[in-house]
C-alpha cells in the first residue's frame, strides 16, 4: 500500500521539492508543517488560533492576489474549520471563489461554504446566483460543482429558485450529472417532500436508469422514503427484487469497475437487501417473491471468502429474519450464523452474535445448537464480544436460567465499571429482568450486596443494589440494620447523584418500617440531607422527614414483599378514616366529590345569572361537617373507576347526580354515566335513593373492586378483547389491516340498521355517529375490566389518579400495525375532559422499546399530562402489555375541526429501524359542553341576555328518521337524540317534535342555549351564546354530526 502516513505529514527535507512539484506557496507549506509538528492538541490550537488572526487581516488584501494564494486561503480555512476553529468569517471569500473560472478553486469555494454554513443560514441566498450560473453552464464540471453543492446545503427558500435548472439537467447525457440530480432531489425531498410535483416518479425513473451508478444513487432515496412510510413502496418490490438479481449475477453492471474484492457492487446489494427487509416485513405475499433472490445472493456470496462477502451474508441473514419467515431460508441463515460463530476472526464472531439475536427471536430452539459458542464467547477476553453475548443472554431468559443470566449480567456490569455507556445500555435490561422475576435469587442479592462495598463500583450499580436489597426485605433485623448503616454511609459519598439519592431516600423510608431500632438514625440522616445543596435532594429528604414523622403511613402489613407478586389492596382505605375524620373536624370542611363541585358552582352562577362569569367568594355558611367516607381521591383511587355502574345498575346511577338537588336552585347536573338522563325525573326511586346514596359516594361493592391477583393467558386475551371488542378478529387474521377492519365494523353496523332501523335509532346513547365502534357503556365496561387487572399495567396504580367519570366515549382514533395498537377514549367529567390513550403490545414475544410519543394538537387545543411522565415510565413495553396514559384535554379557544394527532415511534426488541404509528382523534365542541337543567322561565330570561346567535337548518332526511323513532317510543324524541348527541339537556315539559329548547354550558361556565322550531321542510335550530367562536364552532360541529347521519 503506497498510501502511508508520509502523505499526511511534513518532512522538511522534501519541502522544496514538494513546493516546486505542486506549486504551493511558502506560507502555506509553513502552516501545514506547523500543524503536522504539533505534539498536542493545545499546541495545534495555538498554531491555528494564530493563523486565524493572520487570516482575518489578510482577508482585506486578498483582492488582486494570485489565484494560487486565493485558493490556498480557502484550504487554510478548511483546515481551521476541521480543527475546531470557526472559519465562518471566510464565507464571503468562499462565495467569491465559486465565481472563479478555475474549476478546482470553484469547487473548493463551494466545499468551504458547505462546511461553514448550516441549511438555515441566510448567507445561502448570496450563493444562489453562482449556483444558477453553474447549473446553466455548458461545461459539465461546472454543472457538477453546482449540483454537488445543492446536494449538501439547501433550504426551502432557495429550492424554488433552482429547481427548474436542476430538473433540466435530469436528462443530461453524462451519468455523473444525472446521478447528482438524484442526490440533489433527495436533499430537496428531505427539506420538503412536496417541493417538486410527483417527485417520487422522478426517483422511480432514475431507479431504472441505464447507468448503474444512477440507479445506485437512487437507492438511498427509497431507503429514506421507506423509513418514513414503510408501506409506501409495495408496488416497487418486484423492481427491487429484479435489480438485486441482476446486481448479484453481475449482469447489470460492467464488471471490474463496480467490483470490490470480487464482489459485484457490494453496497448496492446491502442497500437493496435493506429495502427488501422493510418492504417485505409483515407481508407474506411480497416476502414470498424475495426468497429466491435472497438464497441466490447468499449462495454466491458464500463462494467468496472475504469480509465484503461476509457483510452481504450478514445482511441476508438479517433480511431473512425481518421479512415473513421462510423455513428453508431460516435453515440457510442458521447455518451461516454457525459459520460466523465458529470463525477465528473476532469480527465474524461479533457479526455472528449480532445475527443470532434476530434468529433466536424466530427460532428459540436454535439456541441449543449454539450453547457451546455462547459459553465460549461469555469468557472471551474481548469486552465488546462479551458485551454482545451478555446482551444476547437477555433475550433468552427463562425461569430456569434466570439466576445464571442475572448473575452474569451483574458480574459483567461490575467488570465494565469504567465504561458508563455500556452500563447505561444494560441497566434497563437488568431492571426489567428483576421486575420480571417473581423472586430475585438470593445469590444475586448477595452479589449486589457485596458490590456496594467494593471500591470503584459504578454509581448505577450501587443504585441498583440499593433498590434490590431494600425491596427484597431482609428477614433478620441485624441485616436490616446493617443495610441501613451501609446506605447511610453511601449517602455521605461525594459521587452520589440524584437518581442514587432518590433511591437512598426511598430505601430508607421503606426500611424504617421494618426496623424500629434504626428509625432515629434514619431520621437524623434525613435531617442532615435536607440541608443538601441540591434542591432536589433537599426536597426529597424534607419530605422523607415528614413521612417518617407521620403516623398515618405506618401500616407495616401493607409494605410486604413486593417481589412475591401479592399486593393486597385495601380499596376502602379504612386505615385513613381516622386521619380524614380528624382533618374534617379540624377544618370544618367536608369532602365534596368532583362531580358535586361542578354542580355547586353552577348553582351559584345560576342564582345570579348577570354575574355569571365572575367567580365570587361564597358568603353562605358551610354545611355541617359530615362523617367522612373513604372516598378521597388519592393513592388507590384507581378503583373508583370501577364504581361507575355498568348497565345492570344503570338506574341507580342515573339518580346519583340528583343527590345534590337540595343544594341547587335551578341548575343541576343531569348527566349520568350513560349520558343525559331524562327519565330520572319520573323515576319513582328518585326520592328515596338520594338519601340512601348520600352517605355512600360512588364506591361500588367490594367484590367488584377487588383487584385480581393472578395473571394468566386467558386474561391476556381478555385484555385484547377488552380493548378491541369485536376487532379482536385482527388476531385471527394477521393480514387484515385496521382500515379494513373498521370498514367492516361499519358495514356491520349498517346492516343492522337496515334490518331494524328503529331499534338502532332508539338507543340514545349509541347515537354518536363519529364513534361507531363501541357504545359508551361497552367502552366503559371494557375499560373497567382493563383497569381491574392491575398487574397488566406497567405504571402501577399509585401513579394513575383516575378521576370520577360521568360519561365515556367509545374507542376513538384506534390504529394498529399488528404489533402495536393504540386507541383513545374520551372520559367526560363534569368539570373536564380526560383523554385516555391505551397503548397495547399485541405481540406475544416482542418487547417494544424506545417508545416515544409525540402529540400534535390543533391550535387552541391543549393536552396536559395526568399521569406521571409517561415516557419515563415505559420506554419498554413487554409483550401483551397495555398501558393507559391520561391527559387532560382543554380548549383555549373554540374552533371546529380540532384534531389530536398522535405519532408513536418504537422499535422491536431494541433493534432495527424505528417504526411509526399515527392515530387521529377528533375533538368536538360538545366535548367541552355539559348539560344543565333549568326551567322554561329561566331559559327565556337567559335567552334574551345572550347576544351571539347562530342558525342551522337540519335537512328533511334527518327528520324522517326521527319521526319514526318518535312514533315508536314516546321518550325518544329528536330532542333527546340531539341532546345526547350534543351534551345538552332539554328544557320544559314533555318532549314534542314541533319545538323545544335545550341548555348547556361550557366547562368554564359559558352558557349555550339552543332552540329549535319545526318548519315545513326542515328543522330550524338557533343557538345563542356569549362567545362568537363557541357559537360558530358548535354549529359547525352540529353540521358535521348531522351530515354523518
Amino acid at each position: 500500500m503506497k498510501f502511508t502516513t508520509e502523505h499526511f505529514t511534513w518532512h522538511p527535507a522534501n519541502a522544496m521539492v514538494v513546493r516546486e512539484a505542486i506549486g504551493v506557496s511558502r506560507s502555506f507549506v509553513d502552516f501545514i508543517s506547523k500543524i503536522g509538528d504539533a505534539r498536542s492538541k493545545q499546541e495545534e490550537d495555538q498554531v491555528v488560533s494564530q493563523e486565524v488572526e493572520n487570516m482575518r487581516t489578510e482577508m482585506n488584501h486578498l483582492e488582486g492576489q494570485s489565484a494560487v494564494n486565493q485558493k490556498e486561503f480557502l484550504v487554510k480555512l478548511i483546515y481551521c474549520e476541521m480543527l475546531g476553529h470557526s472559519a465562518s468569517f471566510g464565507c464571503i471569500h468562499a462565495i467569491k471563489m465559486t465565481q472563479q473560472p478555475d474549476l478546482l478553486t470553484k469547487r473548493t469555494g463551494y466545499l468551504l461554504f458547505s462546511m461553514i454554513t448550516r441549511d438555515d443560514d441566510e448567507m445561502l441566498l448570496l450563493i444562489v446566483s453562482s449556483v444558477l450560473r453553474d447549473l446553466k453552464s455548458r461545461d459539465y464540471i461546472s454543472n457538477w460543482c453546482g449540483l454537488t453543492f445543492l446536494s449538501q446545503t439547501v433550504n426551502r427558500d432557495i429550492i424554488p429558485a433552482v429547481i427548474k435548472d436542476v430538473l433540466a439537467l435530469s436528462k443530461h447525457e453524462r451519468s455523473i450529472i444525472r446521478k447528482k440530480v438524484v442526490s440533489v432531489l433527495h436533499k430537496f425531498w428531505r427539506c420538503d417532500p412536496k417541493c417538486v410535483e410527483d417527485i417520487e416518479s422522478i426517483f422511480r425513473l432514475s431507479l431504472c436508469d441505464k447507468d448503474p451508478s444512477v440507479m445506485a444513487a437512487s437507492l438511498p432515496v427509497f431507503l429514506d422514503i421507506l423509513q418514513r412510510d414503510p408501506k409506501s413502496q409495495k408496488e416497487l418490490a418486484p423492481t427491487f427484487v429484479s435489480i438485486l438479481k441482476q446486481v448479484g449475477a453481475d449482469r447489470a453492471l460492467p464488471p471490474v469497475t463496480f467490483n470490490h474484492h470480487n464482489v459485484p457492487s457490494p453496497w448496492v446489494q446491502l442497500y437493496l437487501l435493506n429495502i427488501l427487509s422493510i418492504v417485505g416485513r409483515d407481508d407474506p405475499n411480497t416476502s414470498s417473491h424475495m426468497y429466491r433472490v435472497i438464497s441466490e445472493i447468499i449462495h454466491s456470496a458464500s463462494q467468496i471468502k472475504n469480509n465484503v462477502a461476509y457483510a452481504i451474508i450478514f445482511e441476508c441473514v438479517r433480511t431473512i429474519c425481518i421479512i415473513h419467515p421462510n423455513d428453508g431460508l431460516l435453515d440457510v441463515a442458521a447455518k451461516a450464523v454457525y459459520g460466523f460463530l465458529s470463525s477465528k476472526s473476532r469480527n465474524l464472531v461479533y457479526m455472528g452474535l449480532s445475527s443470532l439475536h434476530s434468529i433466536i427471536s424466530l427460532r428459540p430452539e436454535a439456541v441449543n445448537e449454539y450453547q457451546d459458542v455462547i459459553v465460549r464467547c461469555l469468557e472471551d477476553s474481548d469486552p465488546i464480544i462479551k458485551h454482545r453475548t451478555v446482551d444476547l443472554l437477555c433475550s433468552m431468559v427463562n425461569p430456569v436460567n434466570l439466576q445464571f443470566i442475572l448473575d452474569t449480567l451483574i458480574q459483567h456490569m461490575k467488570e465494565m465499571s469504567l465504561d458508563g455507556s455500556m452500563i447505561a445500555e444494560l441497566m434497563p435490561k437488568v431492571s426489567h429482568l428483576i421486575v420480571k422475576a417473581s423472586m430475585v435469587p438470593a445469590q444475586v442479592i448477595q452479589m449486589l450486596w457485596d458490590a456496594i462495598e467494593e471500591e470503584g463500583t459504578h454509581p448505577d450499580i450501587i443504585t441498583l443494589s440499593i433498590w434490590v436489597n431494600s425491596e427484597s426485605q431482609p428477614n433478620e433485623v441485624v441485616r436490616t440494620m446493617d443495610l441501613i448503616d451501609r446506605i447511610c454511609q453511601l449517602s455521605h459519598r461525594e459521587t452520589m447523584d440524584e437518581s442514587m439519592g432518590r433511591q437512598i431516600v426511598n430505601a430508607l423510608i421503606k426500611l424504617s418500617l421494618h426496623c424500629e431500632e434504626s428509625r432515629e438514625k434514619i431520621l437524623q440522616r434525613m435531617h442532615e440531607m435536607s440541608a443538601s445543596r441540591s434542591h432536589v435532594m433537599s426536597q426529597m429528604a424534607t419530605e422523607a422527614v415528614w413521612v417518617l414523622n407521620t403516623d398515618v403511613v405506618v401500616d407495616r402489613q401493607r409494605f410486604t414483599n413486593n417481589f412475591d407478586g401479592k399486593f393486597e389492596m385495601d380499596v376502602h382505605m379504612k386505615f385513613l378514616e381516622h386521619f380524614v375524620e380528624k382533618c374534617a373536624t379540624e377544618t370544618g370542611l367536608s369532602y365534596v366529590p368532583p362531580e358535586r363541585r361542578a354542580a355547586l358552582r353552577t348553582s351559584q352562577e345560576m342564582s345570579n345569572p348577570s354575574a355569571m362569569p365572575i367567580k365570587r367568594l361564597r358568603f353562605e355558611e358551610y354545611d355541617t361537617p359530615k362523617t367522612m367516607s373513604p372516598s378521597i381521591v388519592g393513592r388507590h383511587s384507581l378503583h373508583r373507576s370501577q364504581s361507575i355502574p355498568n348497565e345492570e345498575n344503570q338506574n341507580d346511577a342515573m339518580i346519583k347526580p340528583e343527590r345534590a338537588e337540595e343544594n341547587l336552585i335551578q341548575g343541576k347536573s343531569v348527566w349520568g354515566p350513560d349520558g343525559y338522563t331524562p327519565q330520572s325525573e319520573e323515576s319513582p326511586k328518585s326520592d328515596v335513593l338520594p338519601a340512601l346514596l348520600s352517605g355512600i359516594p360512588n364506591l361500588s361493592s367490594p367484590a367488584k373492586t377487588k383487584p385480581s391477583t393472578s395473571f394468566d393467558e386467558k386474561k391476556k386475551n381478555d385484555t385484547k378483547h377488552a380493548l378491541f371488542g369485536i376487532s379482536s378478529q385482527i388476531h385471527r387474521y394477521p393480514e387484515t389491516k385496521k382500515e379494513v377492519h373498521s370498514n367492516r365494523s361499519r358495514e356491520k353496523k349498517e346492516e343492522k340498521k337496515d334490518n331494524d332501523a328503529n331499534l338502532l335509532d332508539l338507543e340514545p346513547t349509541d347515537n354518536r355517529p363519529m364513534e361507531p365502534t363501541l357504545s359508551p357503556t361497552d367502552a366503559h365496561s371494557h375499560w373497567t375490566k382493563l383497569m381491574d387487572d392491575k398487574k397488566r399495567f406497567e405504571s402501577i396504580g399509585d401513579l394513575v389518579v383516575v378521576p370520577s367519570i360521568e360519561r365515556v366515549s367509545g374507542l376513538l382514533g384506534t390504529s394498529t400495525d399488528l404489533t402495536l395498537t393504540v386507541a383513545t377514549t374520551k372520559m367526560y367529567q363534569n368539570d373536564g375532559v380526560i383523554l385516555v390513550l391505551f397503548v397495547l403490545n399485541l405481540s406475544d414475544k416482542d418487547i417494544l422499546s424506545d417508545v416515544q410519543l409525540s402529540w400534535d394538537v390543533s391550535n387552541h387545543l391543549k393536552l396536559q399530562t395526568e399521569s406521571a411522565e409517561p415516557t419515563a415510565q415505559w420506554r419498554e413495553l413487554p409483550p401483551n402489555r397495555c398501558v393507559p396514559i391520561f391527559h387532560r384535554l382543554s380548549m383555549e379557544k373554540f374552533s371546529s375541526h380540532a384534531n389530536i394527532r398522535l405519532n408513536i415511534s418504537y422499535r422491536l426488541n431494541g433493534t432495527g429501524q424505528p417504526r411509526n404509528l399515527t392515530s387521529n382523534t377528533p375533538a368536538f365542541t360538545h366535548d367541552f359542553i355539559r348539560p344543565i337543567k333549568m326551567t322554561q322561565e329561566t331559559f327565556e330570561g337567559l335567552w334574551n341576555q345572550l347576544n351571539i346567535e347562530k342558525k342551522l337548518s337540519v335537512p328533511d332526511s334527518y327528520q324522517k328518521m326521527e319521526d319514526i323513532a318518535c312514533e315508536n317510543v314516546k321518550t325518544s324524541s329528536i330532542r333527546l337524540k340531539l341532546s345526547a348527541l350534543l351534551h345538552l339537556s332539554s328544557v320544559g315539559g314533555a318532549p314534542t317534535v314541533e319545538n323545544g329548547s335545550m341548555a348547556g354550558k361550557t366547562l368554564d361556565a359559558s352558557l349555550c342555549l339552543c332552540r329549535f322550531v319545526r318548519e315545513e321542510r326542515s328543522l330550524e335550530m338557533t343557538l345563542r351564546t356569549r362567545d362568537a367562536a363557541l357559537g360558530q364552532s358548535f354549529i359547525n360541529d352540529m353540521m358535521r354530526l348531522i351530515q354523518k347521519k
Binding site: 498510501f3 502511508t4 499526511f8 480543527l83 455523473i176 433527495h186 428531505r190 444513487a217 463496480f258 457490494p266
Partner: protein, 131 residues
C-alpha cells in the same frame, strides 16, 4: 444505514480530516462539540488493537448508527482508502480539499452512492486536466 461522520486521525489521536453528515433530525454536530467528541472516539478506537482500519499510522474511523452492518461499513472504509491511494501520487496534506471532494463523491446525504474508483475520480481528473 446512514453514515454520521468520517474521521482520519493519527496515532496520537490528532484529527487529520473530519467530515460530518446530518444527524437523524437533520442537524449537524456543532463545531464546539466536535473536538471533545473526536478525542473520545479516537481514544476508544486506538485502544483496540485488532479490528482497526489502519494504514501505516493513520486510522480511518467511520461513524454510523447502532445496529448497522458494521462489517459492510468497515469494508467501505477500506474502499475509501483504496480510492485515495488510487488517486493520490503526491502529498495529500496540500490537497486536503481533494480528499473532501472525493469523499463527497462517495457519501451523499448520509449514504454511500458510489464505490467505483473510476467513477469517483472522474470529475477530479477532469478538473486536473482543465488546469
Amino acid at each position: 444505514m446512514p453514515i454520521r461522520f468520517f474521521l482520519i486521525v493519527n496515532k496520537q489521536g490528532q484529527t487529520k480530516l473530519s467530515k460530518y453528515y446530518p444527524l437523524k433530525d437533520g442537524s449537524i454536530v456543532a463545531l464546539e462539540k466536535r473536538i471533545p467528541m473526536e478525542g473520545e472516539i479516537s481514544r476508544r478506537c486506538l485502544r483496540r488493537k485488532d479490528n482497526q482500519v489502519r494504514y501505516a499510522s493513520l486510522f480511518f474511523i467511520l461513524g454510523c448508527d447502532p445496529g448497522e452492518n458494521e462489517l459492510g461499513m468497515m469494508e467501505f472504509v477500506h474502499c475509501c482508502v483504496e480510492t485515495l491511494d488510487h488517486y493520490f501520487q503526491s502529498v495529500v496534506m496540500y490537497n486536503i480539499e481533494k480528499v473532501h471532494i472525493l469523499l463527497d463523491e462517495m457519501i451523499v446525504n448520509n449514504y454511500i452512492v458510489e464505490h467505483s474508483k473510476m467513477k469517483i475520480v472522474e470529475p477530479v481528473q477532469a478538473m486536473d486536466k482543465a488546469r
